[in-house]
């Protein structure tokens, strides 16, 4: 059936807003309070989150605007329209490689944290494999399905996460927030870089904009999504600092999860609440991972239209799995994360900005 106006290839602006928020919230925020606590004094990290967030919102705007100029055309199409086809091909290749690596990173990171919090003996290899298989099941279907999953999972995860934070309100030590404004601009700057990294992922819009049914409305919705994420990060960060203090927050690997450990569920129905919290968190990491993979597949399909999507999945998934298993521990994996953060800045910020400026000056695409 021709789907009765819900078109399986059409995406509403609200879905895209959720997608932007959902793809940002992944692994990054789990370690962000630690990084900020290491970089800045007391609770000054909020300035970093604000700066990083505002930069992000700006680039979300650019990316969405760029896509809105070329409704219905793929990344490859409009990059070739703005520049030249060889450049566009290289860009798209880089783009999909970036997202494939991102998929590998997210799923490996997830399985490592899962091992730490949920299992003692089960090997990471097995956890990573089953997680990737579920991701494969998700991307084997339509993109619209993935975006709808965001709408099912994201509000749920956000509610649980905020509830966990606010249950800690009694443990906050106001002393931890002082002194204020003691960090140097250099420290704030370093913090902003960290927070900007944790916001990345909105580049998915470059691909999904092609399916938006009302492209003009997307920039606002996407910026709203980014704004919600920024506010959420701010809350998480302030609670982590308030509860742990800067010194301990800088030492704890995943302050965002650890904070759930402090929670005392009324009536003590559960102990070790962080396991439940992390279990719920798996959903949002799943969303991030599956959208990253989906975006990579979309872009590769524009480059190699003759290969079927499902065949691509069969070939790429083992590669993703193997690449994900290369790093030995958190430190090596974080090194991969660092590389990804920089390539993400290139893909999500510089390239779209340049493309947008070129598109505007050359007058390519719709206004």
């Amino acid at each position: 059936m021709r789907s009765f106006e819900y078109g399986d290839r059409e995406i509403g602006h609200r879905e895209l807003g959720f997608a932007v928020a959902s793809v940002m919230v992944g692994i990054g925020i789990l370690t962000l309070p630690k990084q900020l606590a290491g970089a800045t004094v007391a609770a000054d990290g909020w300035i970093s989150i604000l700066i990083g967030g505002l930069i992000t919102v700006f680039f979300v705007y650019i990316v969405a605007k760029l896509g809105a100029r070329f409704p219905g055309s793929s990344l490859l199409d409009y990059t070739s329209a703005i520049t030249y086809r060889p450049i566009a091909v290289v860009l798209c290749g880089f783009f999909s490689l970036h997202f494939l690596m991102f998929t590998a990173y997210e799923s490996r990171m997830l399985s490592m944290i899962a091992k730490q919090y949920l299992f003692v003996r089960t090997p990471t290899e097995a956890l990573n494999l089953v997680f990737l298989l579920v991701v494969v099941y998700a991307v084997a279907g339509s993109s619209v399905g993935l975006l709808r999953l965001n709408m099912l999972f994201f509000p749920f995860v956000l509610t649980i996460a905020l509830a966990v934070q606010f249950m800690n309100i009694g443990f906050i030590d106001a002393e931890n927030y002082f002194p204020v404004f003691e960090s140097s601009w250099l420290q704030i700057g370093e913090g902003s870089l960290h927070s900007a990294f944790s916001f990345l992922g909105f580049e998915i819009l470059l691909v999904y904009m092609a399916y938006a049914n009302q492209p003009k409305k997307v920039p606002k919705a996407a910026m709203l999504g980014a704004g919600v994420t920024m506010a959420f990060y701010m809350v998480v960060y302030l609670f982590a600092i308030g509860v742990f203090g800067t010194a301990s927050a800088a030492e704890i690997q995943f302050p965002t999860i650890e904070i759930a450990k402090e929670v005392e569920v009324p009536g003590e129905i559960f102990e070790r609440f962080e396991s439940i919290f992390f279990t719920v968190w798996i959903m949002t990491v799943f969303n991030t991972t599956s959208m990253a993979y989906d975006v990579a597949l979309h872009t590769l399909r524009t480059l190699l239209p003759k290969i079927k999507r499902i065949h691509m999945i069969f070939v790429l998934t083992p590669l993703i799995y193997l690449v994900g298993m290369i790093p030995d521990d958190y430190i090596e994996l974080e090194a991969l994360g660092g590389i990804l953060a920089y390539s993400s800045i290139a893909v999500g910020m510089f390239i779209p900005l340049i493309l947008y400026i070129m598109a505007v000056t050359r007058g390519v695409g719709q206004r």
């Binding site: 059936m1 021709r2 789907s3 009765f4 106006e5 819900y6 509403g12 609200r14 879905e15 899962a114 949920l118 299992f119 089960t122 956890l127 089953v130 997680f131 579920v134 099941y137 998700a138 279907g141 339509s142 399905g145 709808r148 999953l149 965001n150 709408m151 099912l152 999972f153 003590e268 129905i269 559960f270 102990e271 070790r272 396991s275 439940i276 279990t279 719920v280 798996i282 959903m283 799943f286």
Partner: protein, 504 residues
Amino acid sequence: MEMKEDVNVIYRSVQENMDYIEAKLGKPNDLILRTIRYGGPGEKVGLVCIEGLSDSKLLNDKVIKPLQLEASQTRRETFADSAEPMLDYLEQSLLSVTEIKRSGDMNEVIIAVLSGETAIFEEGTSSALIIGSRGWTSRSIEEPISESLVRGARDGFIEDLRTNITHLRRRIRDPKLRLDAYTIGTRSKKDMTLVYVEGIIHPDLLKEVKRRLATIDIDEAEESGTIEQWIEDSFLSPFPQFMNTERPDRVAAAILQGKFAIFLDGTPFVLIAPLTFGASMQSPDDYYERFAIGTFIRILRYGAAFFAVFLPALYIALLEYHHGMIPSNLAFSIASTREGMPFPVIVEAILMELTMELLREAGLRLPKPLGQTVGIVGGIIIGEAAVSAGIVSPIMVIIVAITAVSSFAIPSFSMSISFRILRFAVMGAAAVFGFFGIVLVYIMINIHIVRLKSFGIPYSTMFAPMFNKDMKDTVLRAPLTMMKKRPKYLQTIDKQKMSKGRKP
């Protein structure tokens, strides 16, 4: 007599027609062939019907009696100018029956006779009259067994299509109520009716269902389940994509929302589509009770759905992988009850769940009074004995009982079966991967739900794609006066359910 070839025409001779029908049906002993003379020689009509399918009282009083007693020469002559004087006379003047039509097609006549109508042939005329004389004994109207409510209408559908349609007509007196008739089954030739309200239902939806119904090519449609399985979107899905109901009020409410219903003769179960996950968790009495009650019960029901699918799995995961999460006091008491248990938790759980399913199935198959005995024997005796024999732990029995009760609280029986099947998958995942497995299966179920469609409408509709206005009637049930519009996701033509700006 030799079997003649199939013909479509009606012979001019009454006897020839009767012989043909008799031979075609293989001389059945319930076929009534009656010749009645109303005038001189050659002035006769033949009457064909099937005993038991036709209302013999109606035939005696309104057809045979007038023919024998009142067929008078003078009144007949009024129609002398017409081409088929006798049939015209019968049709327009003599026979006091409501439903009557003319046919020149032998096949049509035979199918009509097989459906309970009566055919009348006239000597020397090549067409026949078909008299609506359907009348057979059917079950009386009873309270729907599978969907009983505390508050709400007590009448339920029965096996007779006409009675069922009457139920609906009595509820909706809108002249725009449409009943499209279909004949289903190349051999069974059953009546099926597609019901909707024109001016509410989205035209594309209607076009699509008509297209799908036209594709049905099957010998016989035993039950509406046959139709459902033929035209559903995905046959691999564990979830039902049609709602089936015995309640006329449910059908009336659904078609006024902009859905359609399919009635099939011979079954009390009527199909309603499109169905969404949210709609399958609703029950008519949510609307009959005041909104706070409706809302509370719906929330309870979502909780029940969660328990029905995940509770045993959570227990397995907690005991096998995450004992640290159980508060110490509880952990001790669980450990003490599990002391000396021969099986791991997963085996225990599967054992008990399977026993539970068996009991339920056995209770269904047995005659009603015995069914309850099975419940008692199974639930109390086996449970008690299994615990004291040390095969299962008492907590496991509690878990299984809560799970079973939760699955009974789901208003739709088909949905409840889906949950029961999924439960075993989740239990397996929990046994292998603990919480990680449970959440992955949960994600997979969700992936499936967002992809599934019922007549083009995503199964996850109301949650995603989200329609803010429709959230009033999902998990929550807003006060009646606040639900001024029909569900937006159905994209009805007439959007308004109440007049704007009126207050009681």
